[in-house]
Amino acid sequence: MTPVCELSALQPERGVAALLPDGSQVAVFLTHDGTVHALGNVDPFSGAAVLSRGIVGDRGGVPVVVSPIYKQAFELSTGKCLDEPGTAVPVHPVRVADGVVQVGSP
């Protein structure tokens, strides 16, 4: 698990990107109920590392992030793309210890 930032650095319903030791990137989100999620940051449809900059909300009650490039929605808890079944981004394990957010490998 890699510590990435203080929990207080996260704004509810907005993401940040973090760099992992292996050079890969995660998008870390805080939802309004205080849950932290971490998904691969690379948008599979454009190849750009931008998922952390998408809008966070819900589709039929399911928390999602919407890619800022072509607007597909990804489920925060599973990484599954709701608009293009069969496509998904990696889900990273995440935990908060002593107010610090830590992210593992998918």
Partner: protein, 832 residues
């Protein structure tokens, strides 16, 4: 065996005949040859007046026929040899026919006024006529020729005369309408209605002369002087005759076919002439002693003949002579027995001089059956009342036109809803119930209803609702409200956060549709910086980083360059910034400069340099004012008549930062040559010698549309007031991502309604709209400066929270034509 049908004339009715025949003649019994005098295929003559909005003939085009129709343009038929069943054309072509249809329409009647053939005198019937009027008017606008107001005379105060007058007005000419009868629109409107109509059109800068006619027209240098029989003398630039029409029956007469006493080829109720192989339809036909000057009866005749040619037994169903004037911003409608000619007919009138409306219904002597009516000033009840003609009046007739909004009327199923295309309520209900139509556009496609004069469209909407088809206006799954409703909710409740709005008026946590829309509403209502507090989380990535995201995740930077005017020093700063940060540089289509390839953490540093040099955000990323383009105007251009650059700069500075339902673009041209392409903009301004013409609702992009003229020859102060109102009204009432063009098109009453609201203040909201704009102007602050001055906002501009300053390893560039461009990564393998 294939037979040959020759059609003479390709006007609206000839076109309709061919279309109807081709649709139904599935076995190809008929080979169709059309000879047309005009050099272009049939076009929408009913909408001819709208040609002056765009001068684009394609906008009037009717659907083309298939390849099995031989259309010979610009070659009129000169002779019909009924013995041999052959027609001969001007170019000498001979064609034999098995059946012949005359669809030669009519010509404008020009009264025998001395001087009527002088240059500058026109009729109003074809696209070429309007081009001719335009050429006369343009010559009159030459400043060398004349100072002061340009004036024109329209001879004839009927429906067409008023349309022509309005077209002249659109060209910057003050029209005089001269009508021989005692009132305007004598055929359709009674005295009470005409009195109000006159007052309304006089407010629009029309001068009305009734009970008189022109006795002579003379040329005086470049001017035309018209003397009226009442002694008035008019000094004019242009004259338009619109004093009625005469059926074109000359071919028929020469061929010995029977014609009516007052003209028109005599036909029976199968539209057959005195020769069984020859039919006549449309305005050249005389059926039952009537020559109809409207398109709907012509269409009915076309349908009858198509049916007969295929062996059917259709007969002319009778005509509905209802009319609705669709111009001038003044509603006039007349339907059924408008003048109460029927024995014992009773009239019920509601004449509201204060509101400027006149309404009359005519009912049978027992007050049980609706016979007709007249509406002036407000014709909103027309689509409901017209189909009820000849049917039982539900309750008290006064209630039909009463101020309380009238009774809720439900139409019988066989009532004709669209009179242009003879579509009944039953037919509409059928296509909706079968699921073939789900909204107004699909009803139009299935039935043609609503594609003629358009006056039945409100009724189509009502029928959809009656059939239980909900025209959902919900913004998204989280809000049942439309954007306009949410705007009103936010405005009246004073709610300032998305959380509060969604918990009180919506459900769930929001999404990429409602969050930016609400962010935009909050911003329009001046709730501080777009990245302040919770608002930051609502923004699209573009607004979140105040820059436009590019395909590789980098951003572009567009500083505002008001009006496209820039000093060499500022140009140099942009060049230096681009060089120092290694940015790809391009001149945009909006007269400014775009710098591409900036990473998130470079953005504040780039903007620090730009802001220090006096630049501001250009809002290329926002649903907000983009640019106000300008041409060089009077300062340099030898043709310019006003300072277009000065105005463009003023407008861009006034409206910068204004958040709206979609992006807003504008332009100012210094003269009618229109080098700034102002009519392709949401609001465009073109200089005239007397001030400015304001155009609204223009658009490039996906569905290009030329802007409509909203006001002409206004001074700068009035212009700005009108734009203030226009923009605020748009911001308050448009749907999410609806450009001004689509907004106006979807508006009930369209441009006329818009003009009533923001020019004539019909809703009494103009002061409020202006105050809202004043608030925007006073509270404007540059968004980028706001970021640079606030460490908390600045903190967001980091690529990685855990490794500030480390570049994103997925971004790389290569060089092309001497500048860097993104290297696109292969799309990664994705987990399934």
């Amino acid at each position: 065996m294939t037979r040959t049908l020759v059609v003479i004339g390709h006007g609206m009715v000839g076109h309709r005949l061919v279309e109807a025949l081709r649709e139904r003649d599935v076995t190809g019994q008929w080979h169709v040859v059309v000879f047309a005098e005009e050099s272009r295929p049939a076009y929408d003559r009913v909408a001819l007046s709208s040609y002056v909005d765009s001068w684009n003939p394609d906008a009037l085009a009717l659907p083309p026929h298939d390849e099995r129709v031989e259309l010979r343009l610009g070659d009129p038929v000169r002779e019909i040899d009924r013995e041999r069943r052959v027609v001969r054309t001007a170019s000498g072509v001979e064609r034999s026919y098995d059946a012949l249809v005359l669809a030669t329409g009519s010509v404008p009647f020009v009264p025998p006024v001395p001087g009527r053939d002088l240059p500058g005198c026109h009729v109003y019937r074809t696209i070429e006529d309007l081009d001719g009027i335009r050429a006369t008017v343009e010559a009159a606008h030459d400043p060398a020729k004349r100072q002061g107001r340009r004036a024109g005379m329209v001879l004839g105060g009927g429906l067409l005369g008023l349309e022509a007058a309005n077209a002249l007005r659109g060209m910057g000419i003050s029209p005089h309408v001269v009508e021989l009868g005692p009132r305007l629109m004598p055929l359709q409107v009674d005295e009470g209605g005409a009195g109000l109509l006159r007052r309304l059109v006089e407010k629009l800068d029309l001068t009305v002369h009734t009970g008189t006619s022109a006795s002579s027209i003379e040329r005086d240098g470049d001017r035309l002087i018209a003397k009226l029989s009442n002694g008035t003398e008019l000094d004019l630039d242009v004259v338009v005759f619109s004093a009625g029409i005469r059926p074109r029956d000359e071919l028929a007469r020469a061929a010995g076919l029977a014609v009516g006493e007052r003209g028109g080829v005599l036909v029976d109720d199968a539209c057959r002439t005195s020769d069984e192989h020859v039919y006549a339809i449309g305005e050249c036909a005389n059926l039952g002693g009537m020559v109809y000057g409207l398109v709907a009866p012509g269409y009915s005749m076309a349908e009858v003949v198509a049916d007969r040619l295929l062996g059917g037994a259709a007969v002319f169903p009778g005509a509905d002579l209802s009319t609705k004037l669709k111009l001038l911003g003044v509603d006039v409608a007349s339907f059924g027995d408008a003048h109460a000619k029927q024995e014992g007919a009773l009239e019920v009138v509601v004449n509201d001089a204060v509101a400027g409306t006149y309404a009359k219904v005519v009912v049978s002597d027992d007050a049980k059956t609706l016979l007709g009516g007249i509406l002036v000033g407000d014709a909103s009840k027309y689509p409901v009342l017209r189909p009820l003609v000849g049917r039982a009046v539900p309750g008290d007739p006064v209630a039909l036109i009463g101020p309380a909004g009238g009774v809720e009327l439900s139409l019988p199923h066989d009532a004709q809803v669209c009179s242009c295309h003879a579509v009944t309520k039953q037919r509409i209900v059928d296509v909706v119930d079968s699921g073939d139509a789900v909204d107004v556009p699909s009803i139009k496609a299935c039935t043609k209803a609503g594609t003629g004069c358009g006056s039945c469209v409100p009724m189509l909407k009502k029928l959809l609702a009656e059939c239980g088809v909900e025209q959902s206006k919900a913004l998204c799954e989280h809000f049942d409200h439309s954007r306009a409703e949410l705007f009103e909710i936010v405005r009246s409740t004073g709610i300032t956060t998305f959380s509060e709005l969604i918990s009180r008026h919506g459900r769930g946590r929001g999404c990429d549709l409602c969050k930016p829309a609400v962010a935009s509403i909050l911003a329009s209502l001046e709730n501080g910086h777009v990245l302040a507090g919770e608002q930051a989380a609502l923004q699209d990535t573009n607004d979140h980083f105040l820059a436009n995201i590019q395909r590789n995740g980098t951003y572009s930077v567009v500083p505002r360059i008001p009006g496209g005017e820039i000093t060499p020093d500022k140009l140099i700063v942009i060049g230096e910034v681009a060089r120092d940060f290694g940015l790809y540089t391009k001149i945009t289509g909006g007269q400014r400069i775009d710098l591409f390839g900036a990473t998130v953490d470079q953005l504040p540093r780039i903007w620090k340099r730009l802001v220090d040099a006096g630049f501001e955000s250009g809002h290329a990323y926002g649903k907000a004012l983009r640019t106000v383009k300008s041409c060089v105007g009077t300062t340099w251009c030898r043709y310019g008549v006003q300072d277009s650059v000065g105005l463009a700069v003023e407008l861009e500075l006034r409206y910068r930062g204004l958040r709206s339902p979609h992006k807003l673009k504008s332009a100012v041209s210094g003269c009618a040559r229109e080098c700034a392409e102002a009519r392709g903009k949401d609001f465009g301004v073109i200089a005239t010698e007397n001030g400015w013409n304001l155009y609204v609702g223009g658009n490039g992009g996906f569905t290009p549309r030329h802007a409509d003229l909203l006001a002409s020859d206004v001074d700068t102060e009035t212009l700005i007031k009108l734009i203030d109102r226009f923009l605020m009204f748009y911001i308050r009432t448009a749907d999410r991502l609806q450009r001004t063009s689509a907004w106006i098109e979807a508006m009930e009453g369209g441009l006329d309604h818009l003009r009533a609201v923001i020019v004539d203040d019909s809703l009494g909201i103009c002061a409020d709209l202006e105050a809202a704009m004043a608030k925007h102007v006073d509270s404007y602050a540059d968004e980028w400066r706001g970021v640079l001055e606030d460490p908390e906002k600045l903190a967001r501009f980091t690529t990685f929270v855990n490794a500030p300053g480390t570049p994103d390893p997925t971004i790389s560039f290569r060089e092309e034509r001497g500048q860097k461009v993104p290297v696109l990564l292969g799309i990664p393998e994705v987990a399934k």
